[in-house]
């Protein structure tokens, strides 16, 4: 077994195991409340065909998010598919359909360069986009660069491999040894002259440049080589690359750069194969699969509760293009709070972690929970997603799940015992902006008439206000006036305020009761955030 076989087997096994694990994860969830779309079979078929052509082959949804992005994806998609089918799988596909196939013949040699070139241009556009858009740059993670690097590496190593083969006398020698029976030594010289000039091989020795020798070489070449070797000028990238590398050629040839690049190229391909089921590498498979599974739906209608497998597929279909985050309705919250889990593309990664067996804990869990809470379910990410992922559904499901393990400040308060609620929070380095609660002047005008409580609808509908709400509005104001803010923060009145502003509107002395209650909630939320960070630091 040679390097390739061993490598291929290992990569295939890794790939297969990875895929199986993924599929297992999709299907392993208990199924509940799945509803099946009621479309008829011919309607489904029509939709499937439409999706296949418009959205998978022509990347129609990608087009909605931007021309450059679409162009880049088309170039990479078609370029890479071309390479994959005609070049990488030449034995199984190309050779079978084209018995005369030789990788060094045109059009294959040309096409390989064309596809490779397309892919490279596409990748370059992608890199450009990620670097240029500030908001996207901040979202870009290791796996985004990894995909670009590996795919780019495959293509570049391929070109380098081809270029180094073009100029390699050693390769020439092997070919001569295999396919050419020289009548005398001058034949070799003649052939070398042709190959040096026409095919770009860089021989270490001086090559005759006489016309006779060249003529002879040409005919020899005609007899023995052209059946298998087109002019390397059709390798319109590799050949110029070889020319460019001409000054380095002797050194490269000496060190058998062609073999080095072969190993590099193959290794990268095997890495790509092995990495296929991991992270973003999987999206070329899952995205089309997801598009098909969703049958092109852009919305997330309530009657459409997908099966866990489809949900899993959806999670894995993310191409990490970042479009969802660029259009996210609560993006401004990310700007202020700095929690990347607010943005859908990043939250999705945490969701994967959350759904995995290891799950999330500590700060990562809190960050994910906060991101989930802040989402307003506005549907925009789902609408824009080029992969057609039903993000809305994912968020609505994960919101419920995460709130069970990571309560928000409101839930946290309600889980506490009365004594704990009295002064549950540490100090906070960030004072609230409005600073109403701490400013005694806010309560200076209070005449103690208790109108704020009297008009409060929450107190009105409470069965036993002092039991269920701990403190009433005027009591909170009085505690704050007395400088006992810590005693108010855990009071359920603060958290059960329905924000109707009646207290503030009816106050004869214009005390900003409701605004103060808002601020108290802000204070606790900030402290809990900071507290989590501090716990993480200390523990």
């Amino acid at each position: 077994m040679n390097f390739f076989d061993i490598g291929f087997i290992i990569a295939s096994v890794v790939c297969a195991v990875g895929i199986v694990r993924r599929l297992a994860r999709w299907c392993g969830k208990p199924t509940s409340e799945v509803s099946v779309s009621s479309l008829s079979w011919h309607r489904r078929l029509f939709l499937a065909l439409k999706i296949f052509f418009l959205e998978i082959l022509l990347l129609g949804r990608t087009c909605r998010t931007g021309r450059i992005r679409w162009l880049a994806h088309c170039l990479v998609f078609f370029g890479f598919m071309g390479l994959l089918l005609f070049h990488a799988m030449d034995d199984t596909i190309t050779a079978r359909f084209f018995p005369a196939y030789e990788s060094t013949l045109d059009p294959w040699q040309f096409l390989r360069n064309l596809f490779g070139g397309m892919t490279l241009i596409g990748l370059a556009l992608m890199v450009y986009r990620r670097v240029r858009l500030r908001s996207l740059r901040s979202l870009t993670r290791f796996q985004d660069w990894a995909v670009l690097l590996v795919v780019g590496g495959i293509i570049l190593s391929g070109f380098l491999l081809e270029a180094s083969k073009i100029m390699s006398p050693a390769v020439f020698d092997v070919m001569v040894y295999d396919y050419f029976i020289p009548e005398d030594g001058s034949d070799i010289t003649a052939l070398k002259a042709v190959w040096a000039k026409k095919y770009g091989v860089v021989f270490p020795e001086e090559i005759s440049d006489s016309d006779d020798v060249f003529e002879n070489g040409l005919s020899l070449n005609e007899d023995s080589c052209v059946d298998c070797h087109s002019d390397t000028t059709s390798a319109f990238i590799s050949r110029p690359l070889a020319s460019a590398l001409h000054p380095l050629a002797p050194a490269l040839n000496r060190s058998r750069a062609d073999e080095v690049f072969w190993y590099l190229h193959i290794s990268l391909c095997l890495i790509a194969l092995a990495a296929l089921p991991f992270g973003k590498f999987f999206h070329p498979l899952t995205t089309p699969a997801n598009l098909m599974a969703r049958l092109g739906r852009r919305d997330a209608a309530k009657d459409d509760v997908p099966s866990p497998a489809i949900r899993g597929l959806g999670i894995d279909a993310c191409t990490r293009c970042g479009e969802c985050s660029l259009h996210c309705s609560v993006g401004p919250a990310f700007s202020v709070l700095g929690n990347s889990n607010i943005l859908p593309s990043e939250k999705l990664i945490s969701l994967k972690g959350f759904e995995s067996e290891a799950s999330l804990s500590g700060q990562a869990l809190e960050a994910f929970a906060e991101g989930s809470r802040i989402c307003t379910e506005c549907l925009r990410c789902t609408d824009i997603c080029p992969s057609g992922i039903n993000l809305q559904d994912l968020w609505m499901a994960s919101k419920k799940a995460v709130s069970k393990v990571a309560p928000d400040s409101n839930q946290a308060i309600r889980l506490m015992e009365i004594s704990e609620r009295a002064a549950p929070f540490g100090e906070c380095s960030l004072p609230p902006i409005s600073g109403l609660a701490d400013n005694k002047e806010s309560y200076l005008a209070c005449v103690q008439c208790t109108t704020c409580t009297s008009v409060c609808p929450v107190v009105a509908v409470s069965e036993d206000p002092s039991r269920d709400l701990d403190l009433l509005p005027q009591q909170i104001m009085n505690l704050l006036r007395m400088g006992l803010k810590e005693q108010t923060l855990g009071a359920r009145m603060v958290w059960s305020c329905t924000t109707c502003y009646k207290c503030q509107e009816h106050c004869p002395q214009n005390i900003r009761v409701a605004d103060v209650l808002y601020e108290l909630r802000n204070t606790v939320a900030t402290r809990l955030r900071e507290g989590e960070c501090a716990d993480e630091r200390d523990g």
């Binding site: 008439c449 009297s454 107190v459 039991r467 269920d468 004869p508």
Partner: protein, 421 residues
Amino acid sequence: MIKDDTIYDVMVIGAGFAGMAAALFASAQGLKVVQTGATGGIDFSTGFIDLMGVHPMEEGKRWNSPWAAIDAAVKDYPKHPYALLKRDEIAEAIDTFTDFLAQNGLDYVGHSERNSRALTPAGTVKRTYRVPKTAWKGTLALESKAPTLFVDFHGLKGFSGKQLVETRKRNWPGLKTVRIQFPSGSGELYPEHMAWALADPAVREKLVAEILPHCDDVEYVGFPAILGLNDPQQVVAQLEELSGKHIFEIPTMPPSIAGPRLRAVFDRGLPVLGVRTLSQKMVTGVEKLGDGSFQFAVGSGAAASTVNAKSAILASGRFFGKGLRADRNSVSEAVFNLPVVQPGNRDEWHLHEFFDHKGHPVNMAGIEVDEQLRPLNAGQPVHDNLYAAGAILAHQDWMRMKCGAGLAIATAFKAVKAMKG
């Protein structure tokens, strides 16, 4: 800044008794009315309409006839605002006002031409001219000394049936009290919230079931004023039907429901009459335009606006209503900076004893007006189209003379009449 292009006939500044009455009377006269003012006076009222109860203050002498009391007071205080009104004007004002309340579901009753006696939550008895229909049976019970049960509730503070019994039992035998659990909700209770709960007829039934075992030997049952938000008469009627007893309400200390009921009538009734209300907004500035009309800056923040009016009625109340302001040296008027008649020095403002019958001199401070209720400066009207009404007027102590609501309504009536010419 919102600009309202309408030119109103009159701007009413204030939303207490005087402001509400002025808006009502002016709109009834076909005037285009705009009204501003924050919650205050009327929300804290007991719901009683006093006309005149005590004179002279230093003797603490109570009167059965408010008209006789007014005559006596005007004789001793020639500058008392009542001196500017004729008896039939006052009567017409009060009747128009209570008619309007009645049309909106809040009937007022009393003895014809004389004061009734009414129970307060402290257990004291005061004389007042008109009481809400839901309190009237209390007056009847008190005046006839009929056996009565006072009901109070666990969790409703500041209202003690025992206090009522103790303070009144010397001259009113057959009093008893019971403290019960309110059928809907427990812990700390507020009258307004209890009134919410009583919107549900099932709660009324439970309430009657709670009290019936204690009702055997009584004719009347008195409750704190909690019997319904805006339809107390209906609630009381149903309780009477269920219990077979006479039911009445006793006002509670603020925040009570009596004030908000009154306020609600105006909140609903005035817009129907075409009054433009700018509730919860204070006048922050005023400018007299070339044509003699006023331009007011009203409110603050997003709701700030300018309002133009041909004339104005100042009914902004005293210190709690923010019509008057006191600094360490003097009392001033908040909107027009009108001259305020006042005692010279702050140590003359108040007497040494809070409950001194004579009344604190600062209570007589206020705006002096001519016979058309136009504020005066050195004997001359400050503006010929500015009128003042209510508690802001000088030479009256509504708290000691027991003339708050009546004076407010009557002077508002007169101001509108003077304006119409």
